[in-house]
Symmetry: C2
Subunit: 641 residues, 2 copies
């Protein structure tokens, strides 16, 4: 990798100021003047008119029958009545279907139900009123009729009327073309399992392209540009004439941003470099050839934030549209959320309907945790100058998912097991979304105490009795209703590399300094079990290399072993199995769900229990291995106050 | 055209019953079992997962730096403090950027800001904590992590995480393929000005295809099938294996439906033929090869209603989705709306925010008026057994446009002039939508009296004083605030065929029986003027052939002349001009806007007045011809109570 001059200092522009500077500059150069293009009428779905649309013809273009019946001259029927029907000769009438031409010798249509055909004559028993059941020329539309004004979205009905109006082409607002340039020597087009350390798969351009499409723009992507100023210059020169907006994915290292900004300055002007938001700070805003340029940071969570904040309003406005309003919800915070005062901090959250309100559960704020974006139900902002939110504090959360989905959510805060994922998939088919937050078993107990969760997965060993979970619930939740249901029994053991090259067989082997252990966080059931097993074997924690190194899930510790970042971890068989690792069983434990019936409600409990008992769930758990299902779905204990 | 056996009798199934029969039959044959397909990850935007999606790899797959800085062994920094900095030799540290690999001989990263480089050594003044600023393997995601369950919509963030997770393909729910077969010998692919009487341009398939796309289905269209049972049989046979739904656009004549239904019966089963709705009655519901078949009527307004009622829920459900909820509004009816009791009647309406509520203005209910679909802001249902709605009665209207657009609407009920269309286009650019309902000048006065309109275009001649509009306002609106503003002065005269072949020069010529006059409706300003001119010339209305034949707009009477459905009409120069007709001027009149300030509000009045005074408006009116603009935008009179 080419080493560049490091420029540690970047600006720290307040968000509104950055938006104002960017918008003012674009307005000043006439960027928002709407551009039109003429496209075939059948391709206009979802586009917006740039000119008023007038009909090119009249429809119907002939006098038409509005009914199935006969065309007549009304005058000739004037004297018809029940006693004295009149009989029209074949030349005095014409059989017509709906839509047929009514030639000018006729001026009315009699419905077929009111006609008696006798020997080729049409018998009527009442007179026709002139122009009855006749559609006049232009009844639907007339040549030069205004169909729709400019700035109107075109839907299926508009298209049908354009076709009827004989339009072949329609003037629509040009969809902005957005050039996306991924930069970084470390980037790979496609992830694979033989990537070198330091290599990263390039996903940002697909994410930003998807956002462009959702906003009505047409994205196009440049090939990955390695860290080379000349190549970046060439890339910008290549795209700038075809694009209405240029996005440089600057990567995450400080050096690269600097040369992105120097290239922007070379072709145009850097307006802002550094915005007081978290994530997203090292963004670049500029103008090249009267077009906006955005340099987005490398982490997906930062990249999308900057793109949502700056590109979205511009892309909509460039189409003469306002960005659709996003729904928001008032939620109460499930836990304290600190923020340093200098920046507007955007925090992604899960939302669960708890009792009569909604609770927001902050997701991992690490900028590298792109999965937070997939998990997020919404985003909240802690404005700069504000030090954060207290537990229970109300805040407004902008939704990223339809309210309907959120209203059908149950949340499980506690220990994680892979079986919860199977359960989530089965529940989803019952239109119930299961969100899990992995905070360990004790974290689950605390969430139950606060009434913040519908249920909690727990596997807490009582070191005195050897029994699981019940004593903890009695201790911490004796004063409320709960229901303890077994999900699975599962094997816990040491997860080690495939083939067990270090020949680890017992806990005592972990005392070798060369063996790197990786632990679960305090409060995790597995940590409790580990401490119990160590104490049974009279092993002191400090003799274990890595005892203080903590991960939050079974799969995370297994992954560390898989990738040779650690040599051993206590975890479940399923995690070892998932990653093709060896497993040395040490214990079987009961993994239960502690449910709050008052929070979850009877109906959802029924859905949950039948999902656990379903064949689909049982089969998937069995197939995965390491689980015993003999207690699965059984009520282990219950508290009713 | 081939004449077919007419089968006048069709069923009259209540709507819910038809829905139930159709749904039950489709459920019984397993139609709603979700089908999946595997598609490339970058093509999944907007699709829905059919299987849970698991990660194929861990990310990061190596221990990574979370900062720009140096990688160190924490142990080696343990004793650093301000008084006794420690100096690391080059082999004791490694410069790293964010995202770089931290090799296993290191276990912490120190931020660049905290490092002093002196002679190639890195000086630190505080110890590093083990694993600080280090991203562990799988911090973001771990191989076998559940990314999302089945039945989840895929957006840009999901795509990014799939790419990071090394997925090349994703299992998504198969988008239903909908075959659309237009039928009818009278249908033409493309409208033109030399179409024969009876020919109709085929627009329904494009409309239904657009709806399919909006609902996530993939439409494909068969060529137009003329009225021939064998050809229709062949068409159905061709599409049925590729389609998940078959739509036969049956046209509007009774005969054709019959053979559509006979073909459905031949390949499968007709479940319902005839549904108790207006429009839409002659629809067909059936099943062929366990797939739904819908026969839709020919009028676009009927076709889309049937398609919305029956295809929409099925297409969503086939994708594992619920149809998005449509917003609705409580509106009060601007006028009485009668309905015959036997059917559920769907009425399309414009909606205007009037004072604190919303008023619904029914659009033309004629089944052939496809422009009502383009104009409609919403649809209301008069349930069968209900005889209709009274003026002022509240009703729920399902919206077809965003609420935001409706909230920015002003409505003009009254006489129409082409200049109102120019005005609408200019106002749209000020984010104010102008909706016009053409009910003539007296209709406008009545709407003003009811307070149902923001303003009314009027041109009412006081036959005693020769003055326009003011005396009418004083008589009917003396007790409320109004403002009379001139829009234009315009020429009224006789509109006749190009070249004036019948040599019409004065009103007296209209008394020739061979000359077919076409009149405006009672209450139209032009009708008032016509009656005034006739009476001045002592011409009796009954001596004019066509005096009782009425149309509602200038363009409509001009179109009748243009298409030889009439020989003469009184109308404005602009209408003659628009259709290249001859014009014999008879009078100049003042076309004013009578505004209700209490309904419209000061802000919208300002926008309207500056739109009238705008260069854009003046230029367009001038360019069109037949207008004088010397009073345009002037306040003619005002009433303040």
């Amino acid at each position: 990798m080419i080493k560049m001059q490091r420029n540690i200092y970047i600006e720290n522009r307040p968000l509104e100021e950055a938006i104002r500077i960017f918008t003012d500059a674009l307005e000043a150069c006439g960027y928002f003047n709407l551009a039109g293009e003429r496209i075939p009428v059948r391709e206009t779905l979802g586009r917006v008119t740039s000119q008023p649309v007038y009909s090119h013809r009249s429809s119907p273009h002939y006098v038409a029958s509005a009914m199935d019946g006969i065309a007549v001259k009304a005058e000739a029927t004037a004297n018809a009545n029940e006693l004295h029907p009149i009989n029209l000769d074949p030349e005095e009438y014409l059989e017509v279907d709906t839509g047929d031409w009514v030639p000018s010798r006729f001026d009315a249509v009699v419905m077929i139900e009111e006609v008696n055909f006798i020997d080729g004559k049409a018998q009527l028993i009442k007179p026709a009123v002139p122009w009855q059941h006749v559609r006049s020329v232009g009844e639907d539309l007339v040549a030069r009729d205004l169909l729709i004004t400019s700035l109107v979205p075109i839907g299926p009905y508009e298209i049908a009327s354009f076709i009827t109006a004989a339009l072949e082409y329609v003037d629509v607002i040009k969809a902005p073309r957005v050039a996306i340039i991924p930069t970084g020597t470390e980037l790979r087009e496609q992830a694979s399992n033989d990537m070198e350390p330091g290599e990263i798969v390039e996903s940002n351009s697909s994410m930003l392209a998807g956002l462009c499409r959702q906003w009505g723009a047409i994205p196009f992507r440049h090939d990955i540009v390695i860290d080379d100023v000349d190549l970046l210059r060439q890339a910008v020169a290549e795209v700038k004439d075809q694009a209405d907006m240029i996005v440089i994915c600057s990567g995450s290292s400080a050096g690269r941003e600097d040369y992105s900004s120097s290239i922007v300055a070379e072709f145009g002007e850097v307006l802002v470099h550094g915005i007081a938001t978290r994530p997203g700070k090292p963004a670049i805003l500029g103008i090249i050839d009267n077009k906006p340029v955005i340099g987005v940071p490398g982490y997906p969570i930062s990249a999308q934030l900057i793109f949502n904040l700056f590109a979205r309003p511009i892309i909509y406005r460039k189409q003469g549209l306002e960005p659709p309003e996003t729904e928001s919800l008032i939620c109460s915070m499930s836990r304290k959320l600190a923020s340093s005062g200098g920046v507007d901090e955007f925090v992604y959250v899960n939302i669960a309907p708890i009792k009569d309100g909604y609770t927001a559960h902050p997701l991992n704020r690490g900028a590298g945790i792109s999965t937070s974006l997939v998990k997020a139900d919404g985003v909240l902002v802690i404005p700069r100058g504000n030090e954060g939110l207290q537990t229970g504090e109300k805040c407004r959360v902008e939704l990223r998912r339809p309210r309907k989905v959120i209203d059908r959510t149950i949340i499980s805060i506690g220990s994680h097991d892979i079986c919860l994922d199977f359960l989530a998939d089965i529940l989803q088919k019952q239109d119930l979304r299961l969100v899990s937050a992995n905070v360990g078993s004790m974290g689950g107990i605390m969430a139950l105490r606060r009434g913040d969760t519908h249920f909690a997965g727990i596997h807490l060993l009582d070191q005195e009795t050897g029994e699981y979970n019940i004593s903890y619930l009695n201790r911490y939740l004796g004063d409320r209703n709960w229901l303890l249901v077994n999900l699975v029994k599962r094997q816990q053991g040491l997860i080690v590399s495939s083939g067990n090259p270090l020949e680890i067989t017992t806990l005592f082997d972990l005392q070798q300094p060369a063996i790197r252990y990786i632990n679960r966080q305090a409060g995790a059931g597995t940590r409790v079990l580990f401490d119990f097993l160590l104490s049974n074997s009279h092993i002191k924690p400090e003799t274990i290399n890595g005892y203080t190194r903590e991960e939050y899930t079974h799969l995370a510790v297994a992954a560390a072993v898989k990738n040779n970042a650690a040599d051993a971890a206590l975890g479940i068989f399923a995690a070892a199995q998932a990653l093709d690792l060896d497993f040395i069983p040490l214990a079987e434990e009961r993994y239960d769900l502690a449910i709050l019936p008052d929070v979850m409600g009877e109906k959802n409990i029924d859905i949950l229990l039948s999902a656990i008992s379903s064949e689909a769930f049982q089969e998937r758990a069995k197939a995965f291995g390491g689980y015993s299902l003999e207690l699965s779905g059984q009520i282990i204990s219950e508290n009713t106050i």
